[in-house]
Symmetry: C2
Subunit: 331 residues, 2 copies
């Protein structure tokens, strides 16, 4: 295992120190926690948004802390859910009295710990709402989930719910738009190589020299099938085909597209994927409002990508286009 690190057991702590040192104008770390919040939190008159999960998916989620997206992100150990007490600290730090929305990716550990934290907060009189993101159409139940997994589509929830919260909407309104995004977003991924959790020191799974895995999860959870490497155009057809089967778009529908690198895949390859994606959507007369290409929710140094499609209406377009100023996402 070759990684730029000091102690494999200190990677999250060291990362957070380096992150706060880099972006001290925008974020702060709550003392003695792994919680990153906006420097100006809590924002008066604004619903607070908290997300989080295991680390190793950077820039998710701390990279989305800032104006127009998240107020706080809770960073667990690598690929490990953060504990309820850490989530509770985040909730307290971002609540201005208007309530807090928890944006949770659908993993059993995350669900349990965010729910416990919500109960702790409610016991202290903080209004809390929860939205569970389950955008991954690859498999129904999986290693760490009941139901579908939450993956890169979660970033659309951060963006859109964050934009509405920034306008001063109520907790119920922000929760409703977050649920609308969840209802309208679908994703699916694939990997060319595994990744190594630092404390484990070896890959979490194996792929042969010419083998890829379709439908893999962002922690390396098994997908649909292992297969031989195929041309990018054919991989697009498999991933986008399954997304389109599920999302049931109609002629003239508008979408946002996200092509998300899992860590080691060059931008060049993501753009090559988009060539075929854009062709297929054009053929189907589906209008692409915006395409996001880059690393939005990674799996350490896994090679591979996911595709996400978000079906848009006028409200979602306005909120997707709204200003955002976070560490990694600016509009």
């Amino acid at each position: 295992m070759k990684k730029l690190m000091n102690d494999p057991n200190q990677v999250v702590k060291d990362m957070l120190a380096g992150m706060v040192a880099a972006h001290f104008n925008q974020i702060k770390r709550l003392p003695d926690t792994t919680v990153i919040v906006r420097k100006d939190a809590p924002i008066q008159g604004k619903v607070g948004l908290v997300s989080g999960g295991g680390s190793g998916h950077e820039p998710a989620h701390a990279g989305y802390v800032g104006k127009g997206m998240l107020d706080g992100a809770v960073c667990g150990e690598v690929f490990t859910s953060p504990t309820p007490d850490q989530i509770f600290e985040a909730i307290k730090a971002v609540d201005s009295g208007k309530g807090v929305l928890l944006i949770i990716k659908n993993y059993t550990g995350d669900i349990m710990n965010f729910e416990m934290a919500a109960e702790m907060a409610e016991a202290e009189g903080i209004k809390v709402a929860k939205v569970v993101v389950n955008d991954d159409v690859a498999v129904e139940d999986s290693t760490y989930t009941t139901g579908r997994r939450g993956i890169a589509g979660t970033v659309f929830v951060h963006k859109i719910a964050g934009a509405l919260a920034e306008q001063g909407a109520t907790l119920e309104e922000v929760e409703a738009v977050a649920n609308k995004v969840v209802k309208n977003v679908r994703s699916m991924g694939m990997a060319l190589t595994p990744c190594i959790v630092p404390a484990a020191g070896k890959p979490g799974f194996e792929l042969g020299e010419n083998e890829i895995e379709i439908g893999i999860g962002i922690h390396g959870e098994p997908g649909i099938e292992k297969t031989q490497i195929q041309p990018a155009d054919e991989i697009v057809q498999i991933l986008l085909g399954k997304i389109l089967d599920d999302l049931k778009l109609e002629n003239n529908d508008k979408v946002a597209v996200m092509i998300n690198g899992l860590g080691a895949t060059p931008l060049m390859e993501l753009y090559i994927m988009n060539k075929k994606i854009s062709e297929i959507l054009k053929e189907k007369n589906i209008h692409v409002h915006e395409t996001f290409v880059g690393e939005f929710m990674t799996s350490l140094e896994m090679a591979g990508c996911s595709i996400s499609l978000l079906k848009l209406d006028d409200q979602l377009i306005e909120l997707l286009d709204a200003q955002a100023d976070t560490i990694v996402f600016k509009k």
Copy 2:
């Protein structure tokens, strides 16, 4: 070789098609070329900025085409200089009559081809100025250079010269500030793994299981030494030490820092690097105005990173902070 591509010989063409499909609101491709320009080029009353080089370094350079940075980027084959005729097309497309600045990374092929293109443009009455970036302090001469190589510090030249051009400055003024950035910026990189040029099909060099290379170039050119993997803090001391030896900063100097991932290195590891970088600069009483962490100039899927330091004065701070709206860089 496992890559998301169709034909190894078509990767640049396919990438550009996917890029234009993704960002058609901001950029266009000149017909029958590998040149990407701002959709609204040429901008009246504004000096045009053109950069480019071999592909495989994405988001450099096409990702920086947009308001406040580049007007055009010329994309060669992977790790191969673009030809003079392509560069000439870019110059013609972005010239509004106020002249064009060419920002060239110091590689023998790039220098020769950009100079030939400049002569072709001047023969047609277009004013052209050239600035050569040579920020890499690792080695003096190298495989493809006479003198130091140009690497990630080039992005600071795009940003700052682009901001001044956007204000309506003359070609001479934009050239002068670009040269000031070149004078004030230093970089150095290291790699943990090699990368594979698609058309070659195998790694350009070898590194052992626990081996890294210090001072490597962005095409895998040999650096200072191959050594065993070391803790991130020690790698920072080597890279930053050599940069600081060369840049000769003084007490209270202000800098911008860039920690650039070469392709396969997770953001987590780049932030771990920044922990030590920020500590060393603080000890030396050097003030960090802004830290940029991410992938700015890559080497396909190489694992590793480079550090860049730009010494700032009031003019450079104002231009660094100015608005920018490109595909990947927004301020």
